[in-house]
C-alpha cells in the first residue's frame, strides 16, 4: 500500500520528477565524478606512473631533522609532513601570521620537497598558504576530477552551495521514491518487463532505485553535510562561537598536547623509529604527521594511521619528539574526553568516501556510484520519452544522451590532456582543463548533429570506447611505465587501472555494437533530431 493518497501521490511524483529533471544532469555529473573520485588516489598513481604509496617515508626522517637545524626558529612552531603523488616527502615548516595580501592569518614558512630516491632536499620555497600548499603537477588530474565533484569548479562558497543542494535533491528523490513506490519489497526481484518501451524503462528505474535506496540516502546525506558544513556550518560556528577569531577556534578544535609546556631545547628523536613503533601498534603505517614546537622539550608529533583490523575509523596517535615515548591516541576534533563529534565526522567521511577498507570498499563504492548514475539517467529518460511529441523535450532527451556518454568522455580526454603535458614539463592543470573542454565540445558536436537517437548513441559510444582504448597507449607513449616495469617496481595499480579501462571499453563496445541486442533497443522510437 502506498503511504499517501492518490492526490498527494500525484503531487509527490511531480516533485520527484521535476526536481530530477531540473537538476538531474548536474546531479549525474556530480555522482559520476564522485564515483570516479573514489579512486582519486589510484588515478594519481596511474597518471604519474608512481607506486602510489602515501605512507610517510622513513628515509626522509634524517632530512627533516637536518632542516630543523637550518630553518628560522619561528618556522618550527609547526611542521606538516606528507607524501606527494610522486612519492616524495613534503615538509612544511611554518608559523602563523597575517598575510598582508589576504588580510587573513595564514601559515607562513618554508616548503621542502625531500626526494624518495636520495633522501635529500630537492626543492625549497618560502611563502604563505599558496606557496606552502600548491596544486602539485602530479595531482592535477585527480585534483581536477575531485574538485569537479566537490564544487563543480565554481568559486567558493557557491560551488559548495550547489553540490549541497544537489545532495538534498538526491535525498528528496530517494525519500519521495520510497513513499511513491507501492510494492517496494514485493517488486525487489521483478525483472524489467518488455511489453512496452516505457514500462521497461520504468521497471529498470524502479528496480535500480529500490536496491540503491539505502546508500543513495547515505551518500546524499553525507555529501550535503560536507558541502554545507564547510560553506555554512564552520563560518557560523566561527562567527557565533569565536567572534570570527580563526586562531582561537583552531586552538579550541585542535587536540591539546598532554606534555607540560617546556621551551627548553631538546634533541629530536629519530622519526623513522616513531613511524615503525606506530606501525607495530596499529598495523598501519602513518600517512601524515603534524609536529608542534620542534626542537623543544615539549615537542609532540601527531601521526594519522588508517583503519585496520576491521575498524572503520583511523586514529591520530601522539608521541613525544624529544624522547620518542608514546603519548596515546588523540581525538580527531577538540580536546575533551568525549570524542563523539570526531567519531561522527569520521564516520560521515568513511561512509561518503568509501576508503575505510582499501581497494575492497573503494570498488564497492564505485559500483554504488555507477548504480546511482543508472537510476538518475533512467529516471530522466523515462520522463523525457513520455513527452517526446514536444520538441523541447526531444531536445532535452538528446542533451541527456550527450551528458550520459559525454561526461565519461570528458574524463578520458582530461586524462589525455594530463598525459600530453606531464612528462613534457608542461602545465598539467592547463592540459587537463583543455582536455576536458575538448571532450565537452566533441560530445556536443557529435550529439547535436541531425541524426536519429540510435546513431547519436552509437557515435558517442564509439568515441568513448576509442578514447578509453587510447589512454593506456598514450600513458606509455608519453613516458609512463610499461606493464612489466610497473609490476616489477611494485606499481601493480597502474596495470589494474589500464585493464579496468580496457574492460570498460570492451563492455561499452559489446553493449552497443555486439551481436546480442536487447529486444527493445531496436524498438526505441526515434526522436526528431535537435536543431
Amino acid at each position: 500500500m502506498s503511504m499517501v493518497d492518490q492526490a498527494k501521490s500525484k503531487r509527490l511524483l511531480a516533485v520527484h520528477g521535476w526536481s530530477g529533471m531540473i537538476l538531474g544532469l548536474l546531479l549525474y555529473l556530480v555522482v559520476l565524478t564522485g564515483a570516479i573520485a573514489v579512486l582519486a588516489h589510484e588515478i594519481g598513481s596511474w597518471s604519474t606512473g608512481s607506486a602510489g604509496s602515501h605512507d610517510l617515508d622513513p628515509n626522509a626522517a634524517t632530512a627533516v631533522s637536518q632542516l630543523a637545524s637550518e630553518v628560522p626558529e619561528e618556522w618550527k612552531d609547526e611542521v606538516r609532513l606528507y607524501t606527494n603523488m610522486e612519492g616524495n616527502t613534503i615538509a612544511n615548516f611554518h608559523t602563523h601570521q597575517e598575510n598582508p595580501a589576504s588580510g587573513q592569518i595564514e601559515d607562513y614558512g618554508g616548503r621542502f620537497v625531500i626526494s624518495k630516491d636520495t633522501g635529500e632536499v630537492i626543492s625549497r620555497t618560502e611563502g604563505y598558504n599558496d606557496v606552502l600548499y600548491p596544486t602539485e603537477r602530479g595531482s592535477a588530474l585527480e585534483g581536477f576530477i575531485t574538485e569537479l565533484h566537490i564544487n563543480l569548479h565554481l568559486p567558493n562558497p557557491w560551488g559548495l552551495y550547489a553540490t549541497g543542494i544537489l545532495g538534498l535533491v538526491l535525498m528528496a528523490a530517494a525519500i519521495s521514491g520510497l513513499i511513491l513506490h507501492k510494492h517496494l519489497f514485493r517488486d525487489m526481484f521483478v525483472s524489467p518487463r518488455f511489453s512496452s518501451m516505457l514500462l521497461n524503462k520504468r521497471d529498470r528505474h524502479i528496480l535500480a532505485g529500490t536496491w540503491s535506496l539505502p546508500f543513495a540516502f547515505i551518500l546524499a546525506f553525507t555529501g550535503a553535510f560536507f558541502s554545507f558544513i564547510i560553506s555554512i556550518g564552520f563560518p557560523i560556528i566561527l562567527l557565533t562561537g569565536f567572534g570570527g577569531d580563526i586562531e582561537r577556534a583552531t586552538e579550541m578544535l585542535t587536540p591539546k598536547s598532554p606534555l607540560v609546556e617546556d621551551a627548553s631545547p631538546a634533541p629530536i628523536q629519530s622519526l623513522d623509529q616513531i613511524y615503525a613503533d606506530l606501525e607495530a601498534r596499529t598495523g598501519s603505517a602513518p600517512t601524515n604527521a603534524n609536529i608542534v614546537n620542534l626542537g623543544r622539550a615539549d615537542s609532540m608529533i601527531v601521526l594519522y594511521a588508517a583503519a585496520s583490523d576491521g575498524a572503520v575509523l583511523g586514529a591520530n596517535h601522539a608521541y613525544s619528539v624529544a624522547d620518542g615515548s608514546y603519548l596515546g591516541e588523540q581525538p580527531l576534533i577538540g580536546s575533551g574526553e568525549n570524542n563523539a563529534a570526531g567519531i561522527a565526522f569520521g564516520l560521515m567521511g568513511a561512509l561518503h568516501f568509501g576508503n575505510f577498507a582499501g581497494l575492497l570498499s573503494k570498488s564497492v563504492w564505485v559500483a554504488l556510484g555507477l548504480a546511482m548514475c543508472y537510476v538518475n539517467i533512467t529516471g530522466m529518460r523515462m520522463w523525457t520519452q513520455r513527452r517526446l511529441e514536444d520538441r523541447l523535450w526531444q531536445r532535452f532527451d538528446r542533451v541527456t544522451t550527450i551528458f550520459t556518454y559525454g561526461v565519461p568522455l570528458t574524463m578520458a580526454t582530461s586524462a589525455m590532456g594530463f598525459f600530453a603535458t606531464y612528462n613534457f614539463a608542461g602545465d598539467t592543470m592547463t592540459g587537463t582543463v583543455i582536455g576536458f573542454f575538448t571532450g565537452t565540445v566533441l560530445a556536443f558536436a557529435l550529439g547535436l548533429r541531425r541524426i536519429d537517437e540510435l546513431t547519436a548513441i552509437r557515435s558517442l559510444t564509439a568515441v568513448l570506447v576509442a578514447s578509453m582504448l587510447v589512454l593506456p597507449i598514450m600513458r606509455i607513449a608519453t613516458g609512463g611505465p610499461g606493464w612489466i616495469n610497473a609490476i616489477t617496481s611494485g606499481s601493480g595499480m597502474i596495470v589494474t587501472m589500464d585493464l579496468l579501462l580496457l574492460i570498460t571499453a570492451g563492455a561499452f563496445a559489446h553493449r552497443e555494437f555486439g551481436p546480442i541486442r536487447l529486444p527493445l533497443r531496436a524498438a526505441v522510437p526515434i526522436a526528431e533530431p535537435a536543431e
Binding site: S191, P214, L351, A357, S361
Partner: protein
C-alpha cells in the same frame, strides 16, 4: 582475513539472493514462467542465509567488512534482479 571474510560473506549472500530470486513468484509470473512451489521454510531459510553473513561479520568485529557487505549486496541484488529469469 578481514578482506577474505567479507568476500566469503558476500558470496554466500549472493547465492542466497540468486536462489530466492529464481523462486520469487512475482518475478516468474511477470516473466511468463511457471511458478515454482516453495515451502515457507525454504523461503525464510533463504532470507536468513542471505542476512546471516552480515550479522556474522559484525559478531567477528569486522565492522568495515559489514559495511562493505551491505553496500555490495545492494548492487549485487540489483544485478541479480535485473536479469530476466531463466525458464529452468
Amino acid at each position: 582475513m578481514i578482506v577474505w571474510s567479507t568476500i566469503v560473506a558476500t558470496v554466500i549472500s549472493t547465492v542466497a539472493i540468486w536462489l530466492a530470486s529464481q523462486r520469487n513468484p512475482k518475478r516468474r509470473r511477470s516473466a511468463g514462467l511457471k511458478k515454482i512451489a516453495t515451502a515457507p521454510l525454504v523461503k525464510w531459510g533463504l532470507l536468513l542465509v542471505s542476512i546471516t553473513p552480515g550479522v556474522a561479520l559484525v559478531a567477528l568485529g569486522n565492522t568495515s567488512g559489514f559495511i562493505c557487505w551491505f553496500a555490495a549486496i545492494t548492487v549485487i541484488g540489483w544485478l541479480v534482479a535485473v536479469k530476466r529469469p531463466s525458464a529452468a
